[in-house]
Subunit: 224 residues, 2 copies
DNA sequence: TCTTTGTATATTGTATGCAATATACAGTAT
DNA sequence: ATACTGTATATTGCATACAATATACAAAGA
């Protein structure tokens, strides 16, 4: 936790922000858990000021919720909040592939192909972390092709809020073949400029994720 | 009344945040202008701490940009950043009217009608501030009908980034008739559940705004 | 026993002090 | 005159002290 030397050039508030975000997304900090400033400051070896500023950012990202005079706690994901987020995310992912179909250039096609092949190769392995990163890289290549950076930022922010459950649909290898197939269909559609197929396939892709995450949430509610 | 009580207990950082945002959106603080903590603290009669926290929020909202160790300055809107934002906003506004068509209930229809009539009445006047608020109320009623709060938040955040130019298409009374007509078409489509017409008309509505804002930006660039 | 109230403690909200860094400007050398 | 450099100033980054408020818990009364 105290190894922020590697990012020594960054402001402490950003280091703290990244540290806390990571802790939330990996489940080290669990939904509902309170984020107490003094405690975190001691743990990370900094003062309360950068902790406070980091918590404010996390709030804006939707990862924590703040109650005035009571402090912050890790946001808990309800099925409703998840479907709300996914409803918006689906619309933006569709927009992204639509724009990508129309605007992608040669270099971007090359890069998209690289990320696709990297993902396919990693899908044969069991390294869930690497697979997750390759998945992000593929989608980032699509956003890059849209030429609209803000769109990519917004979708990444929405996607981040369900990273806590991302491993669920990556863990079981039976799903890998399906993921690879979905990516391939999206890729082919974008390369050939087929807007209709691209938006249809990205919808399938997102909805499959939604289904597996909701399944996970329900099972957690069942036992919790 | 409730609002008054809440405002009285609102943390200073939120008061400062609202104050600075208002100053930016009204043009009192101009693009490129530096936001210096001590200066603002003296001006608003508070310490630097709530100023800092407010500036961080403004950064996350895209209204200011921060340079490490140099401070914050009011974000300047380029034509590219504006079209990027509007591209995303259009997709989300379409999603909103789509969902509203399918999900709106009786009370929400009543409220939507009220906001429509209020806007139509105010469009006859010259009070640009009131007209702007009525416009926001109408769109908020649509978001309310979607049942997806997050969608409304996100669109409002995007819309906020062009409030600086909002008065441009409200000021000239010749445009009022067009605005009223557009609202009416959107309203009718939502009430009758006509998804196709609703999304088409909201597109027209947004694109008209885009055109007038871009016109304004270009004229500013010309003289500035 | 249950409720209420008072008090001690914990925690956040705000102000301020100090250190690190950037900026501005004068003075000097070329 | 111009470029460079050193110093003073301005400004942010971080830490800490103090104030305001919420929380927990115990004691007292119904």
């Amino acid at each position: 936790m105290e190894n922020y030397m590697q990012d020594a050039f960054l402001p402490l508030r950003d280091v703290v922000f990244k540290t806390l975000r990571q802790a939330i997304l990996t489940g080290e900090l669990k939904p509902g858990e309170r984020l107490m400033e003094i405690h975190l400051a001691n743990k990370l070896g900094v003062s309360r000021t950068p902790i406070r500023e980091a918590i404010r950012q996390l709030e804006l990202e939707g990862l924590v919720i703040m109650v005035p005079r009571k402090g912050a706690q890790v946001a808990s994901i309800t099925e409703k909040s998840l479907t709300d987020v996914l409803e918006v995310r689906l619309a933006l992912e569709k927009l992204a592939v639509d724009l990508a179909c129309r605007r992608i250039n040669y270099e971007q096609k090359e890069r998209l192909k690289e990320t696709l092949l990297a993902f396919e190769a990693l899908a044969e392995t069991d390294d869930a972390g690497q697979i997750a990163r390759a998945d992000v890289a593929f989608h980032d290549a699509i956003f890059d092709a849209t030429g609209n950076m803000r769109l990519g930022q917004m979708v990444n922010n929405l996607a981040e809020q369900m990273y806590r459950y991302r491993f669920e649909y990556i863990k079981d290898r039976s799903g890998h073949r399906k993921l690879v197939e979905e990516h391939r269909l999206i890729y082919d559609a974008i390369i050939s400029g087929d807007v209709e197929t691209a938006t249809k396939e990205i919808s399938v892709h997102i909805k499959n994720q939604e289904a597996s995450i909701i399944k996970k949430i329900r099972s957690e509610e069942g036992q919790g």
